[in-house]
Every structure is written in C-alpha cells, then in structure tokens.
C-alpha cells in the first residue's frame, strides 16, 4: 500500500479515459468492417467474370503468354507484403510479417534472391528499421483500398516480372479474412499465373461455350491477364482491409475489457487505502485520548 488514495484516484481516471478511447476505436472498427465486407462483396462479380473469361481463353486456345510461362531457372523473386498503416490491431501486422519472413527464408533456401515490395506503413517501417531494402512501397489506404491502387501495384509488379533484369516470380503475402474471429496470414504465388487453379471452378454442367475471340485469342489474353493480376491484388487488399479492421476490433475490445478490470482493481485498492487511513486516524485519536487520560491519572 505504498501509494496514497489520491494517486490511485488519478490512475483510475487515466485508465477510464483510455478506456473511452479504446471503446471508440472498437466501435469505429466494427462499423468500418461492415463496409469493408460490402466492398469485398461488391468486387466479387468482377473477379468472378474475369476468372471465367480467363479460364475460357485458357481452355480454348493454347496461346502461351509471357505472364503464364514458368521461367526455367528462377533466380529472383518479389514478395508483396500487405500490412496495415496503423497499429493497435493486435498481432495483425506482425503475423503477416512473420509469414513473409518464412517465405523469404524458403525462397532463399531455394537459392533465389528476394525483392521486397510493401503495402502499408507497418511493413515499410519494419523493414526500414532492420535496414533491409524495400524496392517500392505504397501507403495510406490500408483500411479502404481502391482499385486504382491495386492497378498501380499490379502494373509495377507485372513490369518487373516482364523485365529481363527483373524478377522471375511474384508472391503476395496478405491476411485472409475467414470470419470476424479468425484471420489467417496467407502466401500465394501471383506470377507466373496458374490459370488452371481457378479459384472458383465452374459449376457442374456449366460447360464453357466455344467462344469466338475478337480480335484474336492472343490479343484478348494480352489485355485480359494483366487485369486478372490486378483483380487478384485488389482481392488481396480488400481481404487484408477486412482482416485489419476485424483484428483491430478484437484488440480494442480486449483492451477495453482489460481497462474495466484494471479500474475495478484500482478501485478496490483505493478503497482499502482509504479505509486503512480512516482506521489509522481512529487508532491515533484513541491512542491520543488514552495517552491524555493516562497523563491526567498520573498527575492526580
């Protein structure tokens, strides 16, 4: 009981104001996450149709495209790490970074050089602090990514992939949004494209019709594939945004709960201190009265 009642009161007050902040952040994250999920849903038709078109072209023409060809001896790989711009989201950014580090180790083990690309300030700061070069980073949109950003990132990655001097494969590490309670850091290889993998295989009986291609299959593929890559990146960014908000909501909820508990504990200690003070005062008075009475009895 080292501290006085007054000091405990001050602690309770500051914890209460912190609790207000974390509570507000929790509510903001909760309302934004609904929007983020809606955005992810709104983007789904585009991704679906694009996937259909790509698999149609891939099925009906054996055109090889620069973006689908496996390099014979991959020497250099690029990794796009999708993190958040701000913290206070629990382990969200650190678990993505951990997953990215694992991938870096794996690729290095295969004898490949690794170029890092970053989306989100947290990842950028992490690599900068460790003085590891980041080729390019994009920041300032992590909780509501737009398609334009995804297109820009996509264009950059495609350009370095197609460049002779550039990378031979491109990976993306992002957080997959499973549910409000579970988000999972995931690493996928973006380039060279594996079209067949088809995230959504066409339903049974939904045979792809024999398409006519205009102007030609290869030209259609030429403009189709970069868009496909961009849409995959957009998908990753949207998932990451939803995950970030879910992680933040969870972190802020437990922070608010902890603040509640702390306030309760401090109140108990403060009351104990207050009572101890009163008890001491009483015993002092009683002691004083007794001493006075003794002194009077002695003088008589």
């Amino acid at each position: 009981m080292a501290l006085s009642v007054r000091e405990y009161r001050a602690r309770i007050k500051s914890t209460e104001s912190m609790k207000k902040i974390t509570r507000a952040m929790e509510l903001i994250a909760a309302s934004r996450i609904i929007k983020a999920q809606q955005r992810a849903q709104a983007a789904a038709p585009y991704a679906r149709e694009l996937t259909r078109a790509v698999s149609a072209v891939a099925t009906f023409s054996n055109v090889d495209h620069a973006l689908t060809v496996e390099p014979e001896d991959p020497k250099k790989a690029a990794i796009l790490v999708v993190t958040s711009d701000r913290g206070l989201a629990g382990a969200y950014s650190s678990s993505v970074i951990k997953e990215a580090e694992r991938l870096v180790e794996k690729l290095k083990g295969e004898g490949k050089e690794v170029d890092l690309y970053c989306s989100g300030r947290k990842g950028e700061a992490y690599f900068k602090f460790r003085q590891r070069p980041v080729v390019q980073s994009w920041t300032g949109f992590s909780d509501q990514p737009t398609y334009d950003v995804a297109a820009e990132i996509g264009a950059t990655l495609i350009a370095t992939f197609l460049d002779e001097e550039g990378v031979d494969e491109v990976h993306v590490v992002y957080t997959r949004f499973r549910s409000m309670l579970s988000q999972e850091p995931t690493a996928v290889r973006l380039l060279p494209l594996e079209v067949v993998e088809g995230t959504e295989p066409p339903e049974q009986g939904d045979l792809l019709p024999l398409y006519e291609f205009e102007p030609s299959p290869s030209e259609v593929l030429d403009s189709l594939l970069p868009r496909y890559v961009q849409s995959r990146i957009f998908f990753a960014l949207l998932q990451a945004a939803a995950s970030e908000l879910a992680a933040r909501q969870k972190a802020m909820k437990s922070a608010t709960d902890n603040a509640d508990e702390l306030i309760k504990k401090y109140k108990r200690i403060a009351n104990q201190a207050r009572q101890a003070g009163i008890t001491q005062e009483i015993s002092e008075i009683v002691g004083g009265v007794n001493a006075l009475a003794d002194a009077q009895a002695g003088s008589e």
């Binding site: 983007a43 038709p45 149709e49 024999l210 398409y211 006519e212 102007p215 259609v220 868009r227």
Partner: protein, 135 residues
C-alpha cells in the same frame, strides 16, 4: 437460360472493378470493341472481345435505353448472358457532365502525345457522349 429457344432475352451484367453497375434483362446491347461497334441480340454466338473506352447502349425489355460510359475492358457473350467488364463504368445519370467537359479540356490541353493521354481523351469523350445521349 430456360427460355433460350423462343422470345429469348439477354441477361446483362455491367460490372466495374469495385461494384456491379447494372444488371437486368435486355433485348439489345451495343458496345465498342477494338474492331468497331458490335450489337448483341439474343442468341448471339459465344463471343469474348476486348472493348475500348466508349459508350455502351442497353435496350431493356421494358423498352428503355440505358447508356453507360465504360473504360477499356471486356465483353463476353454466352448463352444469352452478356457481361461487360470494365475497370471503371458509370451509368449516364451518374456522370457529372460539367466535370467530364473539364476533364476533356484538361486532357486535350496537356498536349501529350502518348497512349495515356489518348486514353484520357477517349474516356472523357465517352463520358460526355453518354451523358448527352441520356439527357
């Protein structure tokens, strides 16, 4: 797809990267591909084509005409399902005509003679055309 034999209609989806812009039934769709304008009527052969910045016309079954401005993208037709995919797409009533005109001015004034500048000019022109057609 049950009524594909007679009195067929087209199921049209106009999809932008971040949202579904319009979907519904139509009797005709006109879009501008890299080869020129194409008109799609019910029971059209399966087609996959690149489209460029331009105006898409949709005649709905109710006899209305919807006009939309789209960016470069794709048109796919199969089983009377028409999907128009474009990174950006706007229905004519969503377009701010004044702003589109300003964009066109700016794009023309920049005077750069590269693909990007041409694209910007074409995009702005398409939006103006779409907005004017509808009004």
């Amino acid at each position: 797809m049950a009524d594909s034999s007679s009195g067929a209609v087209l199921q049209v989806e106009l999809v932008a990267a971040d949202r579904l812009v319009w979907s519904g039934q139509a009797t005709m769709v006109i879009a501008r591909t890299t080869e020129g304008d194409v008109g799609i009527l019910p029971n059209h052969a399966p087609l996959l084509s690149s489209i460029i910045e331009g105006v898409v016309d949709v005649q709905t079954v109710e006899g209305e005409t919807w006009v939309a401005a789209v960016d470069a993208g794709f048109l796919s037709v199969a089983d009377n399902r028409v999907s128009i995919l474009s990174e950006r797409a706007e229905m004519s009533h969503e377009i701010d005509l004044e702003k589109a005109r300003q964009d066109l001015e700016r794009a023309k004034e920049s005077g750069e003679n590269n693909d990007e500048a041409h694209e910007a000019v074409r995009r702005a022109e398409a939006r103006i055309r779409a907005a004017e057609r509808a009004s």
